[in-house]
Amino acid sequence: MEDTLIIAGHKINSRFLLGTGKFSSNEIMKESIKNSETHILTVALRRIDMDSKDENIMDYIPDNRIVMTNTSGARNSDEAIRIARLARQLGCGDWIKIEVISDNKYLLPDNAETIKATEILAKEGFIVMPYFNPDLADAARLRDAGAASIMPLGAPIGTNKGLCAKEMIRILIEEIELPVIVDAGIGRPSQAAEAMELGADAVLVNTAVAGADNPPLMAKAFSLAVKAGRCSYLSGPGAVKETAQASSPLTGFLR
């Protein structure tokens, strides 16, 4: 059965997206990328140093992957737009993850500013993937603004708490026809599988891989879990029953 993720007309070979921050070394990141089989990687522009002789993160990313620059550090739409344009000037391409955070305490995204940035950058030809707080009305606004996918958070970034926003994400999956990628908060492969079983199109993980004792092995675990979750979703799991089947049902007299 053909099951391909398509984003903005591009065929994406893996439903597991990996963030490149927080790794203990670029070598370990590279090994983790290999094991993850990921097709799309996010890189923060603030960390890219094209002038560095030995520390440029871009030198550790295989050529056949899509690099999606993120706007980490942007506090409003204006800063996110400037970061995106700068990324394009530096040759980082047109894939942009919009991350607007005006709250350094909880690191929750600012939906209103994210929508503004999405609208402007989509018009400028960027492939815009906004990270946002799962809200149906805002998801529709992002879609109308030209987002290529929507990326709701599962839980506050870095918390590893899993799908705290499960019910909201379920609604987005049902109602928004764009790819839904669960970004942030996923701490374990089992939670990634849960998101995929729910019907998410992909998941994006960083902290849970980079913070593991063995990041390359954890990258592999996530890759497998995402595939397993997707297979489960496609295979249509049996319904969950709250009770056992009674041998003398209350409506037995109807037979």
Binding site: R46, R47, S52, G73, I83, L86, N104
Partner: protein
């Protein structure tokens, strides 16, 4: 509303009595909570918490992995000048000290910048003494214009300024400020700052907030540990950081933990802080403010700094020269303080890698 009012509201609080009464169960409670209140923070600062230092370290390690990952940000300090109108009793640059006074010419500044940039450092912290005559805002601004060619992120650690002055420097390319209160005890503050513009406690205390109001991207505060009870000073540093974080959520707040060390003028700390106490202060701060940056400078020894990685520290200085012109002509003038970690940037990077963390040279650029 200023942080001064929050400080005042604690004026009658019996800190010593509270610290004495802390029980093991208070420490356990603090360690079991995700969000700590002021009493929990005090419990972790208390001597009682020393018996639970390993549990504090384990929790801090989890917190730092989740919030910052396996990375440590590096920067180097660059002293522009050591002229100073103040008489801070603990400082090597105080006006009355008979040391060679100097400020960099722009040619000398370029030479210093070149040497530092060659090490791979992209974040520079520029410092001056407090002399609006010798190193005015216009001189700092011109220096920033030059340094932008060498570095992607420029912070200042200079005298307290007005919102307008901070705005001028932000427009010139400054994105961060470090400004330490030295002590949150107003009477002691007056005693250790007998003369000069820095003697104005309130103007100093409100300076980080003025920088926030001007739109500074990152703001670092702290107390000079050793002037008085370090537990109280750490408590107020944490409270001050929490106040700024709540009021200006878009700004990256960090706290420095400078421990008093010898410098020209030979000031001896009033209260010596053992390594174990210092670590407890850092861990308590990390748990009270999980998202706030913590900075440890080269005042601390290399092997001690190595041991702090993964426990709470997020930012470190490296290859530091604390004298004016020290990178191109070492020992040309007296340093502001004694640097215990004399390792080069390369050695600090190797030390961080050896600990299983990645040194980050670039974490921001002008946009």
């Amino acid at each position: 509303m200023s942080f001064y009012d929050i400080g005042k509201s604690h004026a009658q609080f019996d800190f010593d009595g509270f610290f004495k009464e802390v029980k093991d169960k208070d420490v356990f409670r603090a360690l079991s909570k995700e969000t700590l209140d002021e009493k929990d923070f005090l419990a972790l600062l208390s001597g009682k918490a020393q018996g639970h230092i390993e549990a504090m370290a384990k929790k801090s390690h989890e917190v730092i992995l989740k919030n910052f990952g396996k990375v440590v940000y590096l920067y180097s300090p660059l002293y522009l000048g050591n002229f100073c109108d103040n008489e801070c009793v603990y400082c090597g640059f105080k006006n009355g000290n008979d040391i060679a006074r100097k400020k960099l010419t722009f040619d000398e500044l370029r030479k210093e910048a070149e040497i530092i940039a060659e090490t791979g450092i992209r974040h520079i912290l520029i410092l001056t003494g407090e002399s609006r005559g010798e190193t005015p805002v216009s001189y700092i601004k011109d220096s920033v214009s030059i340094l932008k060619k060498y570095f992607t992120s420029i912070s200042i650690e200079v005298y307290s300024m007005s919102i307008e002055e901070y705005s001028i420097l932000i427009a010139a390319g400054v994105d961060g400020i470090a400004l330490y209160q030295e002590t949150y005890d107003e009477n002691l503050y007056k005693a250790v700052h007998p003369k000069g513009p820095k003697r104005n406690y309130l103007y100093r205390l409100d300076a980080p907030e003025r920088a926030c109001a001007a739109g500074m991207r990152s703001v670092s505060i702290g107390a000079l540990l050793g002037l008085s009870d370090f537990k109280k000073e750490t408590f107020f540093s944490g409270l001050h950081a929490a106040y700024l974080q709540n009021k200006y959520p878009g700004i990256e707040i960090s706290v420095s933990l400078p421990r008093l060390c010898p410098q020209a003028g030979g000031f001896s700390p009033k209260s010596k802080i053992a390594d174990a106490d210092f670590v407890r202060m850092m861990l308590a701060l990390r748990l009270f403010l999980p998202r706030v940056g913590i900075n440890i400078s080269t005042r601390e020894k290399n092997d001690f700094r190595k041991n702090l990685i993964g426990l709470g520290v997020t930012r470190m200085s490296a290859g530091s020269q604390t004298e004016v012109g020290g990178y191109s002509s070492p020992k040309e003038s007296e340093g502001q303080f004694f640097t215990a970690d004399k390792s080069s940037v390369k050695e600090v990077k190797e030390m961080i890698y050896a600990k299983g963390y990645q040194p980050i040279m670039k974490d921001w650029q002008e946009i």
